[in-house]
């Protein structure tokens, strides 16, 4: 489903600020897998997701999705295969547009946008049903502006938007990090449900070790642009948060200043 081969991303190449964010990543993700990605700040987690989404082209290496080499495709073209939820709740939707208009934008992802009415009756019925299933009462506020919603509500809708059009891959970039604990838990549960329902191949970046183990089928740890841990199946199900931290220390052979962050 996803195959990344020797992916290297270098920012500000040839300047004193040059930084290699990803350093020869090899990663294969099968259809239906749910990979949680952890690592300290600056490990390259978000860069990996952005590279998959198409925010910048690889410095070297290749990216295949569905067997297609997408490395040089711009974000907009790739989005037919890739849906994405950002960390910032404001980034994933248009505050000045209404809820239903945002949903209509997502529903047309991957298809030609023509001169048909965006808020068709059939579409609105689907939106209504999807919003109802969230249990947040948003189905009654479809013509409210997105800007009126809370961060959590916006992330919930962003998840719905990710599933309105068919896609192969779902990218979640610390999508609960900016939320209060209660809402974060709600969105985490929603993520589990939606991924199962739509059998999405998912990559989720998280700062929370617990979320990394609770959600998904496989966990990958990045450090300084390299994969330092890749566990799944039975081995992963035996892991505890403490094991994960210990493993990290063994891998890197040094103490971490940001233990707290990792356990969080």
């Amino acid at each position: 489903m996803i195959r990344v081969a020797g992916l290297t991303i270098t920012f500000a190449r040839g300047t004193p600020l040059e930084k290699t964010a990803l350093d020869g990543i090899d990663l294969s993700v099968e259809a239906g897998e749910f990979v949680s990605i952890i690592g300290s700040n600056g490990a390259g987690k978000s860069t990996l997701l952005s590279a998959l989404a198409g925010d910048f082209p690889p410095t070297s290496g290749r990216i295949f999705i569905d067997g297609v080499d997408v490395g040089r495709q711009p974000t907009a073209r790739r989005s037919a295969r890739v849906a994405r939820v950002f960390q910032d709740p404001l980034a994933g939707s248009c505050g000045t547009l209404t809820i239903e208009e945002n949903l209509a934008l997502a529903a047309a992802r991957g298809s030609r946008r023509g001169l048909g009415t965006a808020l068709k009756q059939g579409r609105r019925a689907v939106f209504m049903e999807r919003l109802k299933s969230l249990g947040l009462g948003l189905e009654g506020r479809m013509s409210d502006r997105m800007a009126l919603l809370s961060g959590g509500q916006r992330q919930a809708i962003a998840l719905v938007m990710a599933t309105l059009a068919p896609s192969s891959v779902l990218l979640l970039d610390e999508h609960t990090a900016a939320l209060d604990p209660g809402m974060a838990e709600f969105v985490t549960g929603l993520t589990r449900r939606i991924v199962e329902e739509h059998r999405l191949t998912t990559l989720m970046v998280t700062h929370s070790m617990r979320q990394a183990l609770d959600l998904g089928t496989r966990t990958v740890m990045l450090h300084e642009g390299r994969i330092v841990l890749d566990v799944g199946g039975a081995e992963r199900s035996r892991l505890t948060v403490e094991d994960l931290v210990a493993m990290f220390r063994r891998q890197r052979g040094k103490d971490l200043d940001d233990d707290e962050l990792l356990i969080g």
Partner: protein
Amino acid sequence: MSAIAFFGAVELGLVFAFVGLGVYLSFRILDFPDLTVDGSFPLGAAVAAVALVGGVDPWLATAAAIAAGACAGLVTAFLNVRFGILHLLASILTMIALFSINLRIMGRPNVPLLNQATIITPFYDHGLAAYLVRPVFLAVLVAIVVLGLAWFLATDFGLAMRATGANPRMARAQGISTPVYIYTGMALSNGLVGLAGALFAQTNGFADVTAGVGTIVVGLAAVIVGETLFRSRRLWVVLVGVVAGSILYRIAIQLALSFDAIGLEPSDLNLATAVLVALALILPRLRKSRAAA
């Protein structure tokens, strides 16, 4: 204010309503501060005037003016999208280039149309006074454009254009190829401004290369007055507001022209206009705060 002066102001307001709608598209929908309009307004006037003098059918001449305006918008969009020139700067470049281009098109700075048949000529002499024929004709044209825009912005394509301006990162993530919508929106915006220029030349009897000075200010005034007085989340109401804003702006000037009766000098015209527009913006708010208190 006499009826002729009043309907004259309405007429001019309706002509500049197309500028307001164009500026609304660039500034508000696309979030693209665009000064091209100072050049595309006289461009529309120039193209229409030269075509009319050359014997072209007035409707065709007007269509050519729209196309010319659209091309000007495309140039600005191209400079911005393809070469990453800051939108404001890109539009200024196009605007100053258009001054020379407009002179080239006309071959001189002023082309009179006082003796030409125009788009409105066939509508005279059907029982309605000439000073009413023009505003009625323009009102129909404005209504068609407002309905067309309201419909367009509610389509999948139009919605994608709104997302392009509101949140380009999200738009790209939703598969919206933002350059396509910037090109389309800028062409549409300046096409409308070109139409305004063509209509101005035809209703006032001349195309003048200096007629574009301050077009952007007039357009922005229409948008801001319209948005302030017609607060709504319904897009068509806002579009109607922009049209109303443009007319109100002209009525403010017309009122200011009568102020010599209360002792103002002719040189106070712009000041008086500014004060009237400011009053139009402030009065509804005062009333609201009084109602609240």
